[in-house]
Symmetry: C2
Amino acid sequence: MSESHQPYLEAAIEEARRSLAQGGIPIGAVLVYQGKIIGRGHNQRVQKGSSILHAEMDALENAGRQQAKVYEQSILYTTLSPCPMCSGAILLYKIPHVVIGENQTFMGEESLLTSRGIKLEVLQNKECITMMRHFIAQDRTLWNEDIGE
Amino acid sequence: MSESHQPYLEAAIEEARRSLAQGGIPIGAVLVYQGKIIGRGHNQRVQKGSSILHAEMDALENAGRQQAKVYEQSILYTTLSPCPMCSGAILLYKIPHVVIGENQTFMGEESLLTSRGIKLEVLQNKECITMMRHFIAQDRTLWNEDIGE
């Protein structure tokens, strides 16, 4: 992994671990602008009974209202390949670069994002994969709910 | 307009009016399952300082956690053509049918939705168009923020 990505992916993983410790779905994300984390979050389906607060959405929400130019110079780090909703948010705000922990347990809308010119880097991080594999094996029903299956 | 759509679009318009009266962006939405509104909402950028609570997202959030089969038998009514984020949410939850108040003031990801088999009906409702035209003319900066421009 590029050294420059390491602390930000680590922060996203920390969010995923926090969610897991709360009994939630272990997916985390951070939004980084000019080297600084301006929003961080994790899946809130269990914790807040939310159908829309996937990790990426929670990080965007926690970043607050931003002007277009901020998103357009930001990098989004997420522990898991972004689903259609989160991919749509990336397209809405024209976030040009997404760093993805892994896409082995779930493949999101990577083809759509790439076709629209978004730069994706998939790191296949072992901790991200292990956390998701373990979670899905333990609670397939909850996971299916989160991805509309 | 099909008579069956009328009360639901009216409910979405009522949400838009409510948002306008609160100083917010006049876009509303309702999620309808088996003829019953199970979630309703409006844009919350101003009211909650939210970057993700577009009307459709607010309606989905207010519907609470639902199983896949509920979304797959629902109709989403929205006063405005859905942006990439809201279109992504529609794809995530496989909502098969979206009724759109108008797409003259903003064209969302209708082509993407149609290409994925979602049924769209665009009603070009006069009140929806008038509310948005007036709002955009009055606060172009706020509108641009909401659509990532």
